[in-house]
Symmetry: C2
Subunit: 436 residues, 2 copies
């Protein structure tokens, strides 16, 4: 089969003929890849920033169709499927599937809690430990825990099953759109969800001051009226980093705020003007049901954004900040923008470098931080619901407001890595079966 | 009046005769101090660790009685009390009051949210900015937002007003016990409350995996049964630091777990053996209603604790960790003890020194951190309820299990600072009116 492979030490991607992967373990599935994404995270390995020497197939974003299943699947499974994730009993050859960017067993303590991004037996697709999806076929370990079965409404949210049937739904959503489920869309949903769920944000959401915001029967400070004013409850949120993940986070955040009926002011920040322009276009493309009536959304550079937040909040700062960059200057900006008792949700992938804060800085502002990888498998049902709802944004390819710049033959992988690394193209998808 | 005053550069506390403080602002109150506490936090200034030169009255923990009120109080107030904190209308000379360790206006945006510890017009008692309570009288700025009126059931929790009347209640609680409200007890309650409210802990509390733990109608990963097992839900919590604040946090945490009916395993950690012994004694003193039936509570040194957690959780780590120390070695221990997607709640006061983590460390374990000062005024109703309930622990002075070692004449302040700094006495309270 054809596959894009990374060669040491760096900047060397080759499309080569390699053996089709086989079932190696009874829990494995083999998936025929329909589309594979090229992602900012692929550049860490591409650039040789990690101490890796092993030649391996790249890519952690793919959708496709199940073509082979290990002996632990189906009614006559070698191992009983009872008590295991449903997919061991129900997954079939021919099912349309998407995988998260990491493997997760779905049955250990960590997975059961929903923290699938940190399954102890997990592995990242497209790493020396596990061949990736920029290929015609990919082997998926622990596929019963890892894969999300798009063909089965059993895995959909109730909102989706209530409004649509499988065929109609899948017919109306392109594969390029579905590909966003593998990484950037659930990560955006995760970031937004985590921020709004934080206890320090609850006073704005509930209208009750801390700590009775956590529990209506908790006794709390006796204010004049006992309740917060509409102005107190106005959420001010900064988002730092408007790459593909940042844009997904913005759409997810807006959707969550509108669903909850919350008034908001969002400042979306990037140092790169073309990224700011993309964000503007995406915002314009979102239908009014995705923005609500009580919101303000501006896109700015960092210095301008600081002034905006100071003006909006009388120098108090933001309720919450999303850090979707992955470097220390973004963390510092997040700190500066947050109010006392502010929340910083970071989904950026960070380097092995000390974070730029003293304990006194963090104490003095009562800062809360949430770091880390998206538990993508656990986010799929929410992300899929948002994907269907916001086809005005996610359903497009190659327009000014689309997250996907183009779909190309996988044979162009080497050239596309180069162009993507140099900022000459936006998000690219590879078609491994292109006949042109 | 008599007052303990700090003199530069360090280790110099003198009990001196100084003028009685007067009303300086219409929002002020003057409080006659009944008892004032000596606290670990006083040692930062005592030791000259801060760039301070101003002679000032020490102490941020006191209870007492209102003796003077500014012109903004009462029915004939110079300024209308409508829309202001209730106390501007209701506080009277003679009321028994306790203050948090910082002033807070109670009416700005930050205070209204309940984040009183970071009121922009706040100040710390016993600092160069504001004379403290280790004296016969103390001036309380913004007293209508700052003070908690123990004499008025209007400020009590409904649980307390339902079970008791003012006279009976206050008769049965000693002043030394009430003094704990000024700092260490609300800080312990704050730490425990913050930890258990964190979204990453909710799967254990709700029995639903993340993200449907946040919202029952959120679609979530489709597991075999859809619900977590009893074993999944067993909370494993480490507490680091068993000084007075750590012990209060332990009692508060146990109480919250028992109230919620949650099974738990707690390992309480200190490097100091006498601190561990005190914690053991306190745990023994707690009535069975404060421990519940489904809990395990062990007190250990750090290395032993790491083994305990590894054994308890099969090397996964703790759901949450409380850091009640205030140094980098405790933060590192907290990181090591936390599970992936673990929560670290830090109430330690930290130095202006970089925290010992890289962004990669925090990303790799999906760590959440909550730092900072207790919003003590907002925590008072909860803390007061716990104080009344747990008189088995908080109601004692000078026993093996009591948090208060002794009550002494304020004239011994200099000697007590010295002994406390050298670990020769536990928590000491000063009586400014001792005639002996
Ligand atoms: N947590 C997860 O599970 C997860 C999943 C996917 C991606 N990621 C990470 O999320 C981050 C964003 O991903 P992406 O693909 O959108 O990346 P990207 O590189 O395309 O976008 C990052 C953006 O941040 C901007 N930026 C850089 N420094 C900045 C600063 N100091 N202030 C403001 N903006 C700044 C850049 O101009 C760029 O537009 C990356 O770190 C990526 O590795 C994490
Ligand atoms: N957040 C707030 O609002 C607030 C309020 C009050 C106190 N504090 C802070 O809380 C902390 C605890 O206060 P306290 O009065 O109980 O202090 P303390 O100094 O009496 O107790 C600290 C304990 O930590 C132990 N310790 C030190 N290093 C350790 C390590 N590496 N591992 C395990 N244990 C270690 C010590 O042996 C000691 O028993 C201090 O930093 C204090 O300043 C914060
Ligand atoms: Zn990706
Ligand atoms: Zn797992
Ligand atoms: Zn104190
Ligand atoms: Zn205030």
């Amino acid at each position: 089969m054809l596959a894009a492979r990374w060669h040491p030490p760096s900047y060397d991607i080759r499309v080569e003929n390699v053996p089709v992967p086989q079932i190696e373990d009874p829990d494995d599935a083999v998936v025929k890849v329909t589309l594979a994404g090229l992602c900012g995270s692929d550049l860490h390995i591409y650039r040789g920033q990690q101490p890796i020497t092993k030649v391996h197939i790249t890519g952690h974003e793919f959708i496709g169709e199940v073509v082979k299943l290990g002996s632990n699947y189906g009614p006559n499974a070698a191992r009983s499927t009872s008590g295991r994730p449903n997919l061991y009993a129900t997954l079939s050859v021919g099912d349309k599937v998407v995988a998260p960017f990491t493997v997760n067993c779905g049955e250990c303590h960590v997975c059961r809690l929903g923290y699938t991004g940190r399954c102890p037996v997990g592995a990242l697709f497209g790493s020396p430990k596990l061949d990736g999806g920029q290929a015609q076929y990919v082997r998926v370990p622990k596929a019963g825990g890892t894969l999300y079965n798009l063909s089965s409404p059993a895995s959909w949210s109730s909102a989706l099953t209530a409004t649509s049937d499988v065929e109609t739904l899948l017919e109306n959503i392109s594969d390029s759109s579905l590909l966003l489920l593998s990484d950037i869309l659930p990560t955006g949903v995760f970031a937004a969800t985590q921020l709004l769920a934080h206890p320090k944000v609850q006073p704005m959401l509930t209208g009750r001051s801390w700590p009775s915001s956590l529990n209506p029967s908790s006794p709390t400070i006796d204010l004049g009226s006992g309740l917060l004013t509409q102005e107190d409850r106005l959420l001010t949120i900064a988002m730092i980093g408007l790459g593909p993940v940042g844009v997904c986070a913005a759409v997810a955040l807006l959707d969550a705020l509108v669903q909850k009926g919350l008034p908001y002011r969002i400042v979306a920040i990037d140092i790169n003007q073309s990224r700011r322009e993309k964000m503007e276009k995406v915002y314009e493309a979102i239908g009014s049901d995705g923005k609500g009536q009580n919101g303000e959304f501006v896109v700015q550079g960092l210095e301008e954004a600081k002034e905006t937040v100071a003006k909006w909040t009388g120098d108090v700062g933001c309720t919450g900040v999303l850090e979707v960059v992955g470097n220390n200057s973004a963390l510092t900006a997040a700190y500066d923008l947050a109010r006392p008792f502010g929340v910083i949700t970071s989904v950026g992938v960070h380097a092995p470098k000390n974070v730029p804060f003293t304990g006194q800085d963090l104490y003095n502002k009562n800062i809360s931080f949430d770091f880390g990888r998206c538990p993508a498998r656990a986010m799929f049902p929410m992300a899929f619901e948002l994907l269907v709802k916001r086809q005005d944004v996610f359903g497009k390819v190659g327009t000014e407001s689309s997250l996907i710049d183009r779909v190309v033959d996988i044979k162009q992988a080497s050239e596309m890595y180069r162009a993507f690394d140099q900022g000459q193209v936006g998000k690219v998808l590879f078609d491994p079966w292109d006949q042109a």
